[in-house]
Subunit: 324 residues, 2 copies
């Protein structure tokens, strides 16, 4: 997520150019590794950067730069194994998105960092400003919540003291399945969703990352032209993550909507009649569900989750490409 | 300096766009603070990022993003003072260059980092590829060398053991003057030089940063279409930095051309007859000299410094705006 945001963009900056009605749409993001597999970490970082373009309905990334911090604490051998894998993951994800990594910057840093800069030059009809929600619209979410809980629970498998706290709510197998489900979600591009935003006349979107689904819903609500508010009724959550979160004494605030996500889904405002066909088509194209999670009401540009939201448990993916 | 470089750019990536013959020119750079004054550090970081655009003859930056790492080791009070100053310096420098900072990314990191992403969208006549040097061309350098030595010597004023080594070659006053001269140089934009590259039909350029003047000259030579080599005869060096470098046992390799520079000058290939008027005009416009430092010969795309280069001692700037 790009901060501070200035100008007319939200997740990306949108800058009018000197040339024929074109705009520069741009975003940057870097963070610290959160999964063990360097290749997957590279993919996640790239998908996460691109997501800021996709949330504005942009489907083409014209250029990607990579930002890399190589940890000073790695041995030379660790570096030689880990860094090329992370770079390859990043590059493979960019290629999947149809863009090249043409440069970047690498530094030595105490902590390992990975991220990038995604840029595209657009005609006005190529992006959708996140500001046109209308009363009666429906909110759709394209990826399940709970990635942070899943990543943490997975780390706790090796930390007996932490594991002690949650072992009565979950099995090791379910933690592993949740972790796999989170990885599947974090490496997945929101590009199809961005394409379908155009087809189904989306009124705006944001991507769910560090502030959690409610934090980003609130940002999106604040950015609307009309006097609307967002009400979230349903929380699709990776299976078992809600009970793990509960067992930890609610440090994640998952069901309150504030658990951080990495490379999360798009939260999209769609005309009421478009929402179901949108979800159906994304599932058909990608083998992954999207969910109607809320509605747009008349209001003061705020967002809330109802008192007892329905938690939809999203199970593991049993087999490559199989629907669930 | 942006690495790795892919595509037709050198200091910046140059990517053809889908729209009417336009190209995306882009670079990113971030590093660790090297001067004490946070405001000046912000300016230096911004000037350093922009320099990669200017070295390709680009004079307009369409968008700037800021990359910031806030040190976890700073107290809250230190952060509240230092970070806003650094951001303001960065932004003021961008404004001076005629562009806005429209976004970026801020993270917590053990080491403080500052940098940015500079992007522009260009018509073909707006950039100059660094590849058309011809035999008989002249090499011009637009800023003096020795910034790293100056910054280090300044730090050593507070380190008796280090100071002991150099105190017979320099006075405290001259170290302070050298530091001021280095700051003046590092915050200065290479934008006027980029504009004059067009006026005087430059055949290509690069900016002198981490690899030193010879390292970057070698990179530029390697990138030429014609069979040419670069020979450097003159080294304009901030006054006293050569003797400090010598007193330290040559750890900097300053006169060998390998001392790192931050936000260094452009090294430009100019037709022989253009070099003197170029230098004269930049001095007139900016109150700062540029120097003819070498020539382009027939060769195998390498660069060298002659055995006994002439070291030009560049004195401090006595008064704002005064020529020296």
């Amino acid at each position: 997520m790009a901060v501070p945001r200035i100008g007319i963009g939200m997740d990306s900056s949108i800058t009018p150019l000197r040339h024929g009605g074109l705009s520069l749409v741009q975003t940057t993001d870097f963070f610290y590794p959160l999964v063990e597999d360097p290749y997957m970490q590279g993919k996640i970082a790239c998908a996460n950067v691109l997501s800021d373009l996709y949330s504005e309905g942009v489907t083409e990334c014209d250029n990607m730069l990579m930002l890399l911090g190589v940890s000073t604490k790695m041995t030379e051998k660790e570096r030689d194994v880990v860094i090329p894998l992370m770079m390859r993951g990043f590059r493979d994800c960019a290629l999947e998105a149809g863009c090249d990594v043409t440069g970047g910057q690498t530094v030595l840093n105490p902590w390992c960092t990975i991220g990038g800069v995604a840029t595209t030059v657009c005609q006005p009809n190529e992006f959708i400003l996140p500001e046109s929600a209308e009363v009666g619209d429906v909110l759709v979410l394209t990826k399940p919540l709970g990635t942070q809980v899943a990543v943490n629970a997975h780390q706790w498998l090796d930390q007996p003291e932490r594991w002690e706290k949650i072992k009565h709510s979950v099995t090791e197998e379910l933690v592993l399945k949740g972790y796999e489900r989170a990885m599947d979600s974090m490496v997945r591009l929101n590009r199809t969703a961005a394409m379908l935003m155009h087809k189904y006349n989306a009124h705006g979107a944001t991507d769910v990352t560090g502030f959690g689904v409610l934090g980003h819903a609130a940002n999106l609500a604040k950015n609307q032209k009309a006097e609307v508010s967002f009400v979230i009724h349903n929380l699709p959550v990776i299976a078992k993550m809600a009970s793990i979160a509960k067992a930890c004494g609610n440090i994640f605030k998952l069901l309150q909507g504030y658990s951080a996500e990495t490379s999360g889904g798009l939260l999209i405002c769609l005309p009421r009649d478009s929402a179901a066909p949108f979800c159906k088509e994304i599932e058909k194209l990608e083998g992954r569900a999207a969910w109607i999670v809320g509605i747009v009401e008349k209001g003061d540009r705020t967002a809330r989750i109802i008192e007892r939201p329905r938690v939809i448990e999203i199970p593991a993916i049993e087999k490559e490409g199989q629907l669930w």
